[in-house]
Amino acid sequence: MAIDGLIILDPAGRPIIQSSYTTYPAAYPLLHIEALNNALAKAPREGSVDPVIYVGELSCSSACCHVEVGGMRFVATISGDVDPLIAFAFLDAFIEILHDYFGIVSVATLKDNFDIVYQLLEETLDSSGHPLTTSPNALSDIVLSPSLISKLLASVSPATPGVPSARQGGYGAFTSPIPWRKAGVRHNHNEILFDVVEEMRGIVGNNVFGKIESNAKLSGTPDLTLTFTNPNVMTECAFHPCVRLQKWTRDNALSFVPPEGRFVLAEYQYRPPQSALISNVPIPLSLKANMDMGEFGGTFALTLTSRLIKVMENLELIFYLGEDATSAQCTLSSAGSSVGSVGSADGSWAFNSRTKTLRWEILNMRSSGSWILRGSWTSKIKAPRPAHAFQIRFEIPSYSFSSLKVDQLRLSSETYKMYKGVRMRSKGSIEWRW
């Protein structure tokens, strides 16, 4: 009646790491791996596999919930009538922990540090199927991370006097009175950085979701209060457990004792101040599409124009040409651009014959001018069925849709001075129908 275990599969679908399924039939993990691999093989396109796969072979009904990270599949198997959200929340927490420990989560790092992964697994998931300690700060006391610095030190000064290895480590564990924060942290240089990342999502542009990521290196037990000049642009908020919710509901101020290191302080949705509807934030670009569908293919002419004064980066337009698409041919051009010479558009396009998608990329999109992509594609069937919308992704550095502004950050309970930094960043992932 809970999370039965966790399996990590490599890109080929073979298990790298799996928790112990001692109380289950021997075939249990294999059946789930097989069910997942079958489903992945059958999927018509990437991302169309149901993230919850029901496995009915065993007497107890079970399912595997899977997430893809770095080419690998993280699978949590659940049995009984459990909420699959618990499994996904756990997977999310576990992957976050791996990021915290190894920086990159890849087959190589996991194989290199498999003993640590097993220790983490043991500490985060009890054999009864219930998550145990998932706060990265508390875990770092229990399971030592393979810090690169210690390795470098080791190679530089090999002659450290032999410290008796007994009674070290582990004794700092669970002494902290706050579950999410380590006790007795000291830094010579105290700093806390905030990254406000906002993402526009929706169809023909509407909702903006924001996230305040934070990286804290503060000594002792800092009690922080973060206030905004315009907190009313934030709605439907979600917070890290460290944030005192009552204070937020009362004063719209974030009062918290931060954990050490990286964490996501808050998530919110942008509410434009004057409009009644949440979802009409203007899109920073426009697209004109002329589509002409013929037999065994079609032609298109797409014109992209920026509506923003800032430069948009890594703009990417993706167009799914349908299961039966065979090839595509395009020409790029740009027009009316005041900067740079006309014709030498700094963009590129590519057709991926495996995913059947056409990808158009513009690394730097200036505020004026327009970018044009003309082309045609061919298809095996007479009446081609391309997707009815383009997906457009872009990034805008040092910009925020909501213009959320931090008023001040106060530190109480500690006396030192700290360095404070706030950075804004925006992304977009919108769908444009034609």
């Binding site: 991302g47 993230p51 220790q119 219930h130 564990a173 009552q246």
Partner: protein, 843 residues
Amino acid sequence: MDGINLNALSENATRLGMRIQETIAEHTRDLSLTRGGSSLFDMADDKTKNITKQLESSSDREKLDAMKRLIALISKNRPVSSYFPAVVKNVASPNLELRKLVYIYLLRCAPSEPDLALLSINTFQRDLADPSPLIRAMALRVLSGIRVPTVATIVLMAVRKSAADPSPYVRKAAALAVMKVYKLDQAHHQTLLDIMTTLLRDRSPLSLGTAVLALDTIAPSRLDLLHVHFRRLCRALPDIDAWGQVDVLRVLVRYARTMLPKPVPASERQEEEVDKDLKLLLACAEPLFMNKNPAVVLAVARAFYYLAPPPMLSKIGAPLLRLLSVSREVERVALAYLLVVARSHPALFITSHNRLLVRVDDAEQVKRTKISVLLALCTVDNHQTLLREFVDYAQDTDDSVAGDAIHAIGRIASLVPSSTSQCLTALMGMINSKQDIIVSNAVLVLKSLVQHQLLTPSCNPTTTLATSLSSQQALLTSSIPSLTPSIPTSLSAAHLPFTSSESTSIVQAPLSIIAQLARRIDDIRHPHARACVLWLVGQYGSVPGTGTTVEGVADWAPDVLRKAARSFNTEASIVKLQTLTLAAKLILLAPTHRTLILLAQHVLTLARYDEDWDVRDRARMLRALLVGAVADFMSSNDEEGLGENWNKKEHAGRPGVVLRREQVTRVLFEGKSGTIGEEPVADSRPLGTLSLVMESESLHLHDDDDETVIDLPEWLEQGIDPALRDSDDDAPQAALSSTAQAISSQAISSQHVPTPAGSTPVVLTPAGGSTPKDTKDWRDLNKFYASESESESEDEGEEGVEEGSGIDDDSGEDEETSEDEGDEEDERVAEHDPSPSHEKTVL
């Protein structure tokens, strides 16, 4: 501060030293900068021989290396139990890193090697007194993981000891161990319950969640044990960790359903009546909507959905929508829940339907659920927008999504009658699509719409429908002459059947749709859709009066039969069957028309030699039916020797079954009830369950309904006496919690005085001060027992009253039985060994 600082420093130094030692040794051997894990992970099998030797060496480094190799073997599913004796020797190693790896090994292998694990039990028992809470907890976890019934008593002692441990982490492990011991041996049920009462009084939110979970696992029927803790649990809710919040909320929802009075919605006569304990629970749970963990958000939404009085339900809308933007996987699961809520309370989401629109890159399942949700939100006001969306989704690259979208258009037409004309226009437009799948789905939907309209003409404003279609009709009628020349009979003398006056009559409008479908029969290739059109043409092809070319038959009908007859041999069986039916119906309508009879005979003859049993049988049946009804049928049959013989033989055998024309008409045309677009079935599965998410495939899950009942019981008519929930905690709670709350994340308030650095003002748990707490606990225990016995006596009193007055028999009885069950279970457990009947509750 300096002291702490120094401690931390020296600790770091020792750790560093340890790590350095390890790495040097590794480097000297591997001469590489990596940790060498990968090489260990992928090592060849022949190297495994050294492991035992390494484990017995004196160097910790060698032992560590060996343990890593072992764990690598475990993850490759190789047998490792043969190393057990060698590993167990290291269980008391002073090296913590090594010991942790040994524990991991034991946690995995102890269950399969219980006898060998027994060898190490002494060590674990010693470890239970280790100064490090980490070691104590690990020892307890290994100990409870050894699944040998004979050690149950030892484990039980260990659990009892750990339940009073000063570290909440160890107490948490104790609560988890309670579940494992119970699974192992139910004979200790009573002892475990005693331990539970200790654990439930825990002040630390860290272990409280697990304690509630353990109680729920070992004694789901003993919700009465929670009476005195209920209010404290509610208040502690914000401070429990996310996983605990999910478990506690689940149990509290159950508690509220069984123990609290159902909220009475406000009505004209009385005010809204909500129990104050229920209010407390909801008030304490509400801030958790702002939790980052999707499982917690759902758990709170679930609590509101099943407990809150209707006006408060509006609070679950926004949080559920927020879940959709967390991740693709969460979106998939949350949508399934959202669909259930949207069907019962569409008002919550109507204004935000644009967040539920289908994206091109959504997974198929997500797209289909979104379409269902949007359909549930359809109202007179937004149907225009939704219709546009569905028309767009019909172009989807996924067939099932396109199909769902087209069927959704049909549903809009029946949900919002005024939109029928638009929906029909949209569907008729789809008939012209180049995509087979769109055409066939549109035909299917059109068929049910038309049929629905024809069957229930009074409830639909068909006049609007008719006028809206008049333009199409004009188009249609003008094009008919162009078709008719292809009919090689007298049919070519086409007479336009529809006049404007006729078209306003009730039946004409849907008929014009059929006419249009009939005209497009060549483009409708999907067998199912083709069969549909053929059936429609036959069923509704009769025209009263004499206005048409063939008397009694609509002008568009005969040509359909001609086309179907021509391609008969290449059609699918389902189309063949409908062609036969169409032929029979048409000659029944025009029994004297020579060409039609010839066509029908041609088709019937082809069917006689068809591969398919059903087609042959259908032809045979229809022929027999028609023999008496169509006079010329017989005579024309003479031309075909075979047919004649066959007919004569049939006749000779059973002369009595010849039906008159009226009878045959009745057989062929009547009693065809239309299929009205199926209503979405009301969902009985509770939110937050796998079976709801896996609705389409959860056949196995649907069997165990009793589990659902346990998880989400019906409200009782009347709650139990709220006085039972009074506890000593309530009064001192405020004072006591000033410590507990000041620290707690949610409640540090302005009263919190910034203290100089050095002292730790934020104390979540009295980690060090175990002694004073223990004494307090013991004092509390007595009080607790007192209060429990009190509650029992009150229960009895209540029952007595009920017997006397005879009111509220239901609630009284329900409670009684639940109590009885609880008792009975205890007795059974005490009497004999674990019986299989307990397994259900265990699992």
